[in-house]
């Protein structure tokens, strides 16, 4: 079973880092202040772009570490369970979000691969893939995996 391929701590770390990324990712848009969420006691930091951006990067490092470690474990396991379609879509969306996020970090740093007129497509792809991943995670339930 896939649960035996991935240690429990990795699965929990992936889940919580992904949830944190979703929250801080939404925080990159000016919505928490507008809709009073940042006004709730203890949530003021959600309205601070510099805090949410720094947390987004920190969580992205954790997420990418776990995701690549899990990918290696998956690819290196002979008796892999057959993935249902919903899990395959999830994996594809996770990879897409990770790659577009990495490209954005490179764009801001030492390797700007996109021009001023095209960087928007990178941002829109990252946002669109993250929204799609959230929708799939919530509304497309996974059947139990079977061993091939």
């Amino acid at each position: 079973m896939s649960n035996n391929i991935f240690p429990r701590w990795q699965r929990w770390l992936l889940l919580w880092s992904a949830l944190g990324l979703a929250l801080t990712g939404m925080g990159q848009m000016p919505i928490f202040s507008r809709y009073y969420i940042a006004a709730l006691p203890g949530l003021g930091w959600l309205g601070n772009f510099r805090i949410t951006a720094a947390l987004h990067l920190a969580l992205a490092a954790v997420f990418l570490f776990v995701l690549t470690a899990m990918a290696v474990a998956w690819l290196g396991t002979r008796a892999r369970p057959r993935l249902p379609l919903s899990s395959g879509v999830r994996a594809g969306l996770l990879a897409g979000v990770a790659v577009t996020g990495l490209l954005r970090v490179l764009q801001n740093g030492t390797l700007p691969l996109f021009g001023a007129g095209t960087v928007r497509y990178l941002d829109w792809s990252h946002l669109g893939l993250a929204v799609a991943l959230g929708l799939v995670a919530v509304f497309w339930r996974r059947p139990k995996a079977r061993v091939a």
Binding site: R34, F49, V72, Q107, D123
Partner: protein
């Protein structure tokens, strides 16, 4: 930059600034465009505050100013307010969506006497602009020549760029732009506007309108290394101070003033649309280490995954051997 190249650049920049004729650009009109970002240098000792640059900016950008549709969409929640400058287009004592350049004045003491300095203010065009690097919608971006631009066709007017800019430069006009076609009442609030350093004019081989119109050659434009060298040469010659070289991790707008900028910062009027001249933190630089961690994380993850696999294979081999 090696020593020879630095001295050559310094000499070129110094000669250009010392030349009796106009020194508005540090490269020939027909020169091959450099890969290096362009920067500008303001020699504040030359500015008389005549406002020719502000007028030229207005004239050059008439077609770029917003024409909002009224009434504005009703905003939810009600605390979200419209920002409307369309009825005050002539305001020229601060930055607005209709005024991308204005002149700050500061009267300070120098050598026991009053000295009034005029400081043209606009976007600093940072080398790592937080407005562009943190815009979640890709509306603000850095052009190859170092100009930071906001695309008014896709900007939603969330004003994050203004919040993260150390000088809070971009200004919002409600009632215009893409947000009206998406969720006008619930997301966005117009379009953000600021100086685009006359991108089209420069791309066509010209110089920004403010530089062309200045009767005193206050401003010079050229490759950043030449402009930085020219700023240092001028500051050394006049005993002046430099602003913009290292602020926010470095900008493409450098000022040289005969009095320290801390003194000017204390003397200028500050507030909405009126940026200061104080020390500012390097917004994107503070995230650089986290960004490195993000780039390193997949490599560490691959190594950790591979080590775990090798460990599992080793244990399996031992088990097989025991059997």
């Amino acid at each position: 930059m090696n020593r020879r190249k630095f001295l050559l650049t310094l000499g070129t920049a110094g000669a250009a600034l010392a030349a009796p004729g106009p020194a508005e650009r540090l490269w020939a009109r027909d020169a091959k465009p450099s890969d290096e970002p362009l920067a500008t240098l303001f020699d504040l000792s030359k500015c008389e505050g005549c406002g020719a640059c502000v007028d030229a900016c207005h004239e050059a950008h008439q077609a770029d100013y917003p024409e909002p549709e009224k009434p504005f969409p009703k905003m939810y929640p009600a605390k979200v307010k419209a920002e409307d400058f369309s009825a005050s287009r002539d305001v020229d004592d601060r930055l607005t969506p209709y005024n991308w350049l204005y002149i700050q004045s500061a009267t300070v003491k120098k050598d026991g006497r009053d000295l009034t300095l005029n400081i043209p203010r606009r976007c600093m065009h940072c080398t790592h602009p937080p407005c562009a690097e943190l815009c979640p919608w890709g509306a603000a971006a850095v052009e190859n020549n170092g100009t930071v631009r906001i695309d008014d066709t896709i900007c939603l007017g969330g004003a994050k760029c203004r919040a993260v800019c150390p000088w809070h430069i971009p200004q919002r006009q409600t009632g215009v732009g893409l947000y009206r076609k998406l969720l006008p009442s619930f997301a966005g609030n117009g379009v953000m506007y600021k100086c685009d350093r006359c991108f089209a004019r420069v791309a066509a081989g010209g110089v920004p309108a403010c530089i062309e119109a200045c009767p005193n050659n206050v401003q010079t434009i050229g490759p950043r290394s030449a402009i930085v060298a020219a700023a240092h040469a001028l500051a050394q010659k006049t005993g002046g101070s430099i602003y913009g070289e290292t602020e926010n991790g470095g900008t493409n707008t450098l000022y040289v003033s005969p009095v320290p900028f801390a003194t000017l910062d204390a003397a200028v009027a500050k507030g909405p649309g009126k940026p200061g001249l104080g020390q500012v933190a390097d917004v994107m630089g503070s995230e650089a280490n986290l960004a490195k961690s993000v780039l390193l994380a997949p490599v560490v993850g691959l190594a950790a995954g591979a080590l775990r696999l090798v460990g599992k294979l080793g244990r399996k081999g031992e088990d097989d051997h025991v059997e």
